[in-house]
């Protein structure tokens, strides 16, 4: 049986040093890599994305002393190579369930209503209403206007909104996304505080 490697402060310090000589910058790079690894594992359909990302980081940390002397290039790409191996090992485990819907079921769904939509999202809706009250009026207004309409009407409407605001369409898109992200986080926090039914 393999000996379990234990993360030590020394090993973690070596990792950070490898990422950047400036400790604060290194910390930010570490968080960036971790966040993006989690996202990649989510995109690959992994139910335990955070665990897999942490496993990847632990493995890289265990070799940081060695890597820092010889590796040339963006450290993030080394993390990626390790993440690939971690994912493969994960897939080989017998209990791994990668997809919420089987291929056969999905094929039968083509002519039916979207199965992912839920009917009851009342808690989310209540929390969203509360969260929107925290927003400055102009941000709330932007959010309401940005998400109106559908398809081509939506595209034209957003161009008009961007022109009204005096910004490029993509800048509007980014701004709306940031406000939405804040609301998403707010709703998440609100739901955690909701009493269990």
């Amino acid at each position: 049986m393999k000996k379990e490697w234990v993360l030590t402060q020394g090993a973690f310090d070596t990792l950070l040093e490898w990422l950047d000589p400036d400790r604060e910058q290194a910390g930010r790079k570490y968080e960036t890599i971790r966040t993006r690894l989690i996202k990649i594992f989510i995109c690959r359909g992994c139910l335990e994305a955070e665990l897999l990302a942490d496993e990847t980081i632990n493995r890289v940390t265990s070799k940081a002393e060695e890597i820092s002397k010889s590796y040339v290039g963006d450290p993030a790409l080394y993390f990626y190579a390790v993440a690939q191996k971690v994912h493969l090992e994960h897939l080989r485990k017998p209990h791994t369930q990668q997809s919420a819907i089987s291929v056969e079921t999905a094929d039968n769904l083509l002519s039916t209503a979207p199965v992912g939509l839920v009917e009851d999202f009342e808690p989310e809706y209540r929390c969203l209403e509360r969260c929107l009250e925290l927003l400055p009026k102009e941000n709330r207004y932007l959010l309401e206007r940005y998400y109106q309409l559908e398809k081509q009407a939506k595209v034209n409407h957003r161009k008009l909104l961007a022109t009204e605001m005096g910004i490029a369409v993509n800048a509007l898109r980014i701004r709306a996304h940031r406000i939405r992200l804040a609301m998403r986080q707010c709703v998440r926090t609100c739901l955690e505080q909701e009493p269990a039914h």
């Binding site: 993006r36 139910l47 790409l77 997809s99 999905a106 992912g116 839920v118 809706y125 925290l134 804040a182």
Partner: protein, 252 residues
């Protein structure tokens, strides 16, 4: 960097599991190394989810979305949020439309006196509007602009502060503050300006391009010399959190 539309299409196909293994790996390497690519992915995730909610995906895309994209609890939670947001926007639009239809129709009787009063009132409103337009300051302010990146230190020693000289006719200074990569996600931002003489002032900032905020400080509020800025984020739980570090600049 590839054209934005091509990049967006590539990200979209990646999210729907439509890229080949090699292309998917290349995308993931780009995501790790490229901030703009990663930021684009986050936005397109939301856009795909909204399209799904609104029935805007093609049948093949819908299958891929349900089979591949919705595989994780995080994405399923995001979908519920998107449904809530969609419902809110539709309800709010309907409310505004209903309010519009209930604006009371002004009924007036046919007396000469009433018509005279109405005419005087209209003339008065027009004169007032003309006066307000004349008095209103120009819509566009004349602003000098300065972009700053954060310094890890709160102390100015050893820091090379960017210098700015305000034109005589400048109404103020617009500061674009680039936020560190892992800044807290905020509902709004407050910026505290501190002059080297210790005087402090607070301003509200607006989210600008990705990972930056913008704050406008009127010329009258600026003093010559070294200034520092601290940024505070109002989190979704209502608490204010300071973003570590400071921004330094000198007004000449």
């Amino acid at each position: 960097m590839m054209p934005i539309q091509e990049l967006q299409e590539r990200v979209r196909r990646y999210l729907l599991g439509q890229l080949s293994d090699g292309a998917g790996d290349e995308m993931e390497r780009d995501l790790l190394a490229n901030e703009e690519m990663f930021a684009e992915l986050l936005i397109i995730e939301d856009e795909l989810t909204d399209e799904y909610v609104n029935g805007g995906l093609t049948p093949d895309e819908r299958v891929n979305f349900e089979r591949h994209f919705l595989a994780t609890p995080e994405r399923q939670e995001d979908l519920r949020f998107a449904q809530a947001l969609n419902r809110y926007v539709k309800a709010n639009k309907n409310n505004k439309q209903m309010a519009g239809s209930h604006v009371p129709v002004f009924r007036y009787n046919q007396t000469f006196l009433f018509k005279a009063i109405a005419a005087v009132a209209i003339v008065g409103v027009l004169l007032g509007a003309w006066w307000i337009v004349r008095q209103r300051p120009p819509a566009r302010q004349n602003l000098a602009t300065l972009t700053l990146t954060i310094s890890a230190s709160d102390r100015s020693e050893g820091i090379r502060a960017k210098a700015v000289q305000l034109p005589r006719d400048a109404d103020g200074l617009q500061l674009l503050l680039q936020l560190p990569d892992q800044s807290v996600v905020a509902v709004r931002y407050r910026v505290e300006l501190e002059h080297e003489d210790g005087e402090k002032k607070s301003f509200e900032a607006a989210a600008s391009e990705r990972q930056s905020i913008s704050v406008v400080i009127a010329t009258a509020a600026l003093k010559r010399g070294l200034n520092s800025l601290k940024v505070f984020a109002l989190r979704s739980d209502g608490k204010e959190q300071r973003i570590p570090g400071s921004y330094f600049f000198t007004v000449q």
